[in-house]
Amino acid sequence: MTQKTKEGEWAEDLPHNCPPDAAIAPKSETFYRLVKQFPPTEDDFYSHRKLYPRKRFNTNECRIRSLSIFKSLDECAKLLKLPLHKHKKIVQLILPTEGLFYKRGTIRHIIHGGKKQLMTLFLIVRKL
């Protein structure tokens, strides 16, 4: 993790030790994410914690405050076959260098610094 990050820099409040040390800065790579509508709105980039402030989850708080993104379009599109995601759309995004992400399985979790910057870079990807 880069040490230049300061408290209050992130889009949402983060717990201690978050982002994790393994998190790295993106280098203008392309990623994919599921959103409810196109063009996406701000709440398409809210973390689970922001969407469900009092909910108890089965994972750690850092992950709950991250967003899931995919490097592979196929992996992202696969989720459209699941009940919770079948009506969503895929957007392609290029991560701004202000964010940090870490990998867990095939999913990357991004902790971002500014939604407006992120949202100007979206492209719709048609369902495969």
């Binding site: 089965n58 699941l82 009940p83 919770l84 399985g105």
Partner: protein
């Protein structure tokens, strides 16, 4: 957020549970009992997810309302005819389990409630005020659940 989980009951029957609704505070899972062979086939991408729910091995389907962390789950039986298509996965979802971080999690024990048990619980709730009155009468020993 895990989309799929494997749970097992007190008889070591395994259930594949699929997240179908997410809200605060609860999540709903659609659960189907699966034999170890079928589960292995699913994890090996040999059988698709929809097939498991469309043609369950034991013709049983359940849903589970989970509040908070996934620990103990109660399974409520549902009739296949009443199952909405919005809870069903789309065709051609195959999954290959490569490591334990792949999105499948394993829950602890699940408990099944039969239709009869559910009816008993409803009956008990219906008569609870009467039982409370009776329990206050001298000489009558009533235990309220």
């Amino acid at each position: 957020m895990p989309q799929l989980l494997v749970a097992s009951d007190q008889f070591n029957t395994q259930y594949l549970c699929l997240l179908v609704e997410c809200s605060e505070p609860n999540d709903k899972f659609l659960c189907v009992p699966v034999t170890p062979i079928r589960l292995k086939d699913f994890f090996s991408a040999l059988v698709e997810l929809r097939e498991i729910y469309e043609n369950p091995e034991s013709d049983e389907l359940f849903y589970a309302d989970v509040v908070g962390e996934i620990t103990d789950i109660q399974l409520i039986p549902i009739a296949r005819e009443s199952l909405s298509d919005k809870w069903m996965p789309e065709p051609d979802f195959y999954f290959k389990k490569e490591n334990r971080h792949e999105g499948i999690i394993e829950s602890r024990t699940v408990y099944q409630l039969s239709k009869e048990q559910i009816q008993d619980l409803l009956d008990l709730l219906k008569y609870k005020p009467l039982l409370e009155i009776l329990s206050k009468q001298p000489g009558i020993d009533v235990k309220i659940a």
